[in-house]
């Protein structure tokens, strides 16, 4: 069997996550909710997910995202780091976010 040329991308704090070009976050007026549109699925991110996804703009590094969220939620960085990292790695694995 052929060895895959592509590698799984692993998160680092220098990563600057961005939504993949074919993934769109848009407000759905009919349901009055934010929808994330991707090739075969529609996701309905909750408020916390939305706050993370909005910072996935390709300019914020993971370090900056953590700082930003720490301020928004008034929580120490150490407390939110693991959850945010897991979220970003998972969304990268599902090909929704580029790291």
């Amino acid at each position: 069997m052929m060895t895959p040329q592509r590698q799984r991308i692993l998160l680092s704090h220098r990563s600057t996550p961005a939504l993949k070009p074919h993934v769109r976050l848009q407000y759905d007026k009919v349901r009055q909710a934010w929808a994330l549109l991707s090739p075969e699925k529609v996701f309905w991110p909750d408020d916390v997910s939305l706050d993370i996804l909005r910072l996935c703009d390709g300019t914020h590094s993971v370090t900056r995202i953590l700082e930003e969220l720490s301020m928004q939620y008034d929580a120490p960085i150490e407390e939110i780091t693991a959850d945010v990292e897991t979220f970003l790695q998972d969304w990268s694995d599902r090909s929704l976010v580029a790291l």
Partner: protein, 378 residues
């Protein structure tokens, strides 16, 4: 009807029944519509506008072969303007130079290309189209070159079930993001050809292991979606995620249906877009309300804790196998008719039948009288 009807999320638009391929597992109905029955551009545009207003977020542009419609760019352009996510489902053959770029320019979001085999000879045999494989590969490369994400769709049956590792290699080689290993659903042409398509149990078990191993090994590299073969399952598929629950389809002539094969259920009348608005059909059509939600269910579904997971399974399969669209899908182990599935597998795999009744306009309708004469040896 006591259930609340939510707005639909997805729509499958079968723009045409015309197709260069003749796959014996096609999900289109046996009575294929000719080009002169297809809706005009303006009607599709107006339907898409109403769909967007109604809450549809994703439209799968399919067929037949959707690129046979010269107005495809116009349709994509309008959907893109309305913020609707567009997915082109194509056979990937006979597409003129530059067309993929034009579609990307019009705002197309994603492309799915079907491969009938992972090997050129299989692809040619199943689709009955010379050089199909190399043409599909060329189209896949153009899709990636245009910056569009790609899904490879592999419809699986007896003749290609051993090619799964090669399908995985192909998807990686073509830089696809997703691979759909989709065991054929026995409706439409696939039901007609069931004895020539059904794999045996040992192959299905091998397949499950290969897919599970690959999903693990390629986690974060290639997404592999696995549509399991429900004849071998213990629970049915939640067909369409529930009848008329969040998705529907439209036939080339504008007939609005809850699913591909809904036309095989006697007694249901399906309305055409234009005669009624899409909202009227979605909310008020007796055919849409016939199996919506859970109120229609009898036992064993009615008291089953999976009733809002499986939604009773597939109504068309209940019709085809149990002779009654309102009973539990016999694919479910709780169905009193579940043993029929094993019987049908046995019948198919010992039938010695390997020839296809190829999908062609006109040939499905004449099947019942000319079965032997119409059959093409594979």
């Amino acid at each position: 009807m006591s259930e609340t009807v939510l707005p639909p999320i997805g729509m499958l638009a079968e723009l045409t029944h015309r197709c260069p391929l003749q796959c014996a597992y096609c999900s289109n109905p046996l009575e294929l519509l000719k080009a002169n029955r297809e809706m005009a551009t303006q009607d599709w545009l107006s339907l898409f506008d109403q769909a967007a207003d109604l809450g549809v977020l994703q439209i799968h542009l399919s067929g037949g072969e959707p690129t046979l419609r010269p107005d495809l760019e116009t349709l994509v352009d309008r959907l893109s303007e309305r913020g609707v996510y567009t997915n082109l489902i194509t056979a990937g053959v006979g597409i003129r130079e530059g067309r993929i770029d034009d579609l990307a320019q019009a705002g197309l979001d994603h492309v799915q290309i079907s491969f009938q085999g992972a090997l050129a000879s299989t692809t040619e045999k199943i689709g009955n189209y010379r050089d199909a494989h190399i043409k599909k590969i060329e189209t896949a490369r153009k899709v990636r070159a245009a910056g569009l994400p790609l899904t490879i769709n592999a419809p699986i049956h007896r003749h290609n079930i051993d090619e799964i590792p090669a399908f995985i290699d192909l998807a990686l080689e073509l830089d696809a993001e997703r691979l759909e290993i989709a065991n054929v659903q026995y409706a439409g042409w696939a039901l007609l050809n069931r004895n020539s398509l059904m794999p045996d149990r040992a192959s299905v078990e091998r397949q499950v292991n290969v897919v599970r191993e690959a999903q693990e090994r390629l986690h974060g590299i290639l997404a592999i979606d696995f549509v399991t073969p429900d004849y071998f399952a213990i629970y049915p598929k939640p067909c369409m995620g529930g009848w008329a629950r969040d998705a529907f389809m439209v036939a080339p002539d504008g007939t609005v249906l809850p699913c591909h094969a809904a036309g095989t259920i006697p007694g249901l009348v399906f309305e055409r877009f234009g005669e009624k608005s899409l909202a009227d059909i979605w909310h008020g059509s007796p055919a849409f309300n016939a199996f919506r939600g859970t109120d229609w269910m009898a036992e064993p579904c009615r008291t089953c804790d999976r009733k809002e997971i499986d939604w009773g399974g597939c109504r068309c399969q209940a019709m085809a196998i149990a002779g009654n669209a309102a009973v539990t899908d016999p694919a479910c182990i709780k169905s009193p008719l579940h043993a029929r599935m094993a019987g049908l597998i046995e019948e198919a795999t010992t039938s010695g039948h390997d020839a296809f009744h190829y999908r062609r306009i006109g040939s499905g309708v004449t099947n019942h009288t000319h079965n032997a004469a119409e059959t093409v040896e594979s």
